[in-house]
């Protein structure tokens, strides 16, 4: 209880509240403007938090994360293009509703169910995380190795169309993770005689490069011929409440509950998050609903499914991050970097050693959700006008902010060069249609797997059998194998089907 009171005091300080509101507002903007993402928002604001206390700093980052995940709905409905991949399915019904003149209602539904989804996922996080931490505290190197391997196979299996490219992205991430001093015996690897590389690449520089710099380079390719997006204007003034009735709200609750559950579960899985869960929830909800045939014609059900699922991913993704130190997606990977910068190691010990911080995070999440609801509803006019900020002015400023952030990590230009290198790697990935997510997960989980493999071997006197005889690690390794077999089989089936379709087309 003492921790809860301390946490309340820390979040409800005027300064923190103000920062949370600013964080949510900036987050919404990053979510709403196509091309800007939640990863960028959190990465760019990290340097601002360097000088703050961990509680305040991490509250801002959480506020940015929540705002950016929800903000995508504004452009999904007003611009008819999703602001972030998290809102792709919101367009399916948001766009037709807008055309029918029900734009304000679509926005109201999106905003409210974003809020409900976030709150449900925070409840799930508060319920699951402390209990999982109690179990995880007993985990040793065997368990951590197996969980890391299982997560890696899952990411490679679930990523994109080409399994080979997905696995390669993961392997390349692990390879970059081997740069620097090796675990256990401290051998120096791949440093090419430089001192700067001894510490390895910083996670933040890798993420900023892959997700922000590569986006700047990618946009430069098309910017000369870009046309201005048409922003539809709606007025929220004339509508009552949130634009939909209490009856409609109650009718949507089962849909929202199921979609939020899906969002939480998908959020927990490493490597995939809101970008997948909104589409899965939309599809599942459509299949289950009696009004399934109406989906896509402009019914609120579709928006409810997509928006509650994507925001529910937030709480889900934070479960493995906080209890095991394993990020659920790219944003939580940045958050992991943020935790480390503030000297906090996420993991089961966080719940015993740093309980106040844990509660601060929970409370900051709830406050951020409320801030999101208020800001999106009353500030919509401002956000919709900011959608028109010219890209050629925005992107160079973002690049400068990336440079500031990278420089701020260790006050050295080496990290700034690193973001450029990873920006180019990210750009090559885009050009060759290889997924980014497995790379970043490999980069983070690879060293974790290697360290625990070597520690585990020391525990079991050099015998690999120790990893299989331990029940938890054995189970995860079997699951890892199963996920490889399952995904290889489904990829084989899909490619066979594609071939058959090609043959049929040729015959026609």
């Amino acid at each position: 209880m003492e921790h809860v009171i301390q946490a309340l005091g820390s979040v409800f300080a005027i300064q923190t509240l103000l920062f949370i509101f600013i964080g949510v507002a900036v987050g919404i903007l990053f979510g709403a403007v196509p091309g800007l993402t939640a990863v960028m928002a959190v990465a760019l604001f990290l340097p601002v938090t360097y000088g703050m206390s961990p509680g305040v700093g991490i509250s801002i980052l959480i506020a940015l994360y929540i705002g950016a995940t929800s903000g995508g709905l504004i452009s999904a409905i007003l611009l008819k293009i999703p602001g972030t991949p998290s809102s792709v399915a919101t367009c399916f019904d948001g766009h037709p509703m807008m055309e029918k003149g029900e734009g304000p209602k679509a926005l109201g539904v999106g905003i409210v169910f974003s809020f409900v989804g976030t709150i449900l996922s925070i409840l799930a996080l508060m319920l699951v995380a402390p209990n999982l931490a109690k179990v995880a505290i007993k985990f040793g190197p065997h368990e951590y190795f197996a969980i890391a391997i299982f997560s890696l196979t899952l990411i490679a299996a679930l990523s994109g169309k080409s399994m080979i490219k997905g696995i390669f992205a993961g392997v390349l991430g692990i390879a970059f993770g081997t740069v620097g001093i090796a675990p256990v015996d401290a051998a120096v690897r791949f440093t090419f005689g430089t001192n700067e590389l001894k510490g390895g690449f910083n996670t933040l520089t890798v993420l900023v490069g892959l997700f922000a710099i590569s986006e700047v380079i990618k946009t430069a390719e098309k910017i000369k011929s870009a046309s201005k997006d048409e922003v539809a204007q709606v007025s929220m003034k004339s509508i009552k409440g949130f634009g939909f009735s209490w009856k409609e709200f109650r009718e949507q609750l089962p849909n929202c509950g199921l979609s939020s559950l899906l969002g939480v579960c998908i959020g927990i899985l490493p490597g995939i998050g809101a970008a997948t869960s909104n589409i899965v929830a939309y599809t599942v909800s459509k299949k289950r609903s009696k009004r399934g045939h109406l989906y896509g014609t402009g019914v609120i059900d579709g928006i409810v499914a997509s928006e509650s699922a994507n925001n529910a991913g937030i709480g889900g993704a934070l479960i493995p991050l906080m209890t095991l130190g394993i990020p659920g997606d790219a944003v939580t990977a940045i958050l992991l970097g943020g935790f480390m910068l503030h000297g906090i190691q996420p993991g089961p010990l966080l719940f015993t050693n740093n309980a106040t911080l844990v509660y601060t995070i929970f409370i900051a999440m709830i406050v951020s959700s409320v801030a999101m609801l208020i800001l999106e509803f009353y500030g919509l006019r401002i956000f919709s006008q900011l959608l028109n900020v010219p890209k050629h002015l925005l992107l160079p400023i973002i690049l400068v902010l990336c440079v500031v952030g990278a420089f701020g990590i260790n006050s050295r230009v080496f990290d700034v060069w690193t973001i450029l290198v990873f920006g180019l790697v990210g750009y090559l990935f885009v050009k060759f249609k290889a997924p980014h997510a497995p790379f970043i997960m490999g980069f983070i989980l690879g060293p974790m797997a290697e360290t625990n493999l070597r520690r585990g071997l020391m525990f079991s006197e050099g015998k690999f059998s120790g990893f299989l005889t331990n029940p938890i690690s054995g189970t995860f390794l079997v699951l890892a194998l199963a996920s490889i077999v399952w995904s290889a089989a489904s990829h084989y089936r899909n490619s066979r089907r594609d071939q058959e379709m090609l043959v049929v087309e040729d015959e026609e």
Partner: protein, 161 residues
């Protein structure tokens, strides 16, 4: 050459090239510790090298198959403006190189102004006055906000403060 036709093949070759480089570097590594241990600092890099060789090989095979099957008729060439990409990349390289010797304030000002000009859409008139004002305000406010407010000492370069 149509990039899309050979994209998968090129990707496979790049993977093999990187695998060869990584493998060679692994063999050159100086490893201390227990000599007879199966798992030392080279173990994971060797496993990764093998995986990359296998994946690269598979990708080359699939790449050859894909380029043979490539449907020329349905191909719509992507409109990509690589000239702008190269110019902005060069600008970023010069920016980073001058960051410490000249200092954050002036390099950022110059970088922003030039980047705005390079990236401005073809059909629109370049508003140089606006670019100068934004470059000036952004770089000055970032420099002083981080140095005095947020304890982040950005490179001061030729500036005396």
């Amino acid at each position: 050459m149509k990039f899309s036709k050979y994209a998968n093949l090129i990707f496979g070759c790049l993977v093999l090239a990187f695998a060869a480089f990584y493998f060679f570097q692994t063999t050159q590594m100086v490893v201390g510790g227990v000599k007879d241990a199966v798992v030392d600092a080279q173990f994971v890099p060797y496993v990764l090298s093998v995986l990359m060789f296998v994946l690269g090989g598979l990708q080359v095979v699939f790449g050859i198959r894909d380029s043979a099957r490539f449907n020329e008729g349905a191909y719509v060439p992507e409109k990509s403006d690589y000239k702008t990409v190269v110019r902005i990349l060069l600008l970023i390289v010069v920016y980073i190189a001058l960051l410490v010797p000249v200092g954050f304030l002036f390099t950022t000002m110059a970088f922003l102004f030039l980047a705005f000009s390079i990236l401005s859409p073809a059909g629109q008139k370049r508003k140089y006055v606006q670019y100068v004002i934004i470059a000036l305000v952004t770089s000055t406010s970032l420099y002083f906000a981080f140095r005095s407010g947020l304890d982040l000492m950005l490179p001061q370069g030729i500036l005396p403060f």
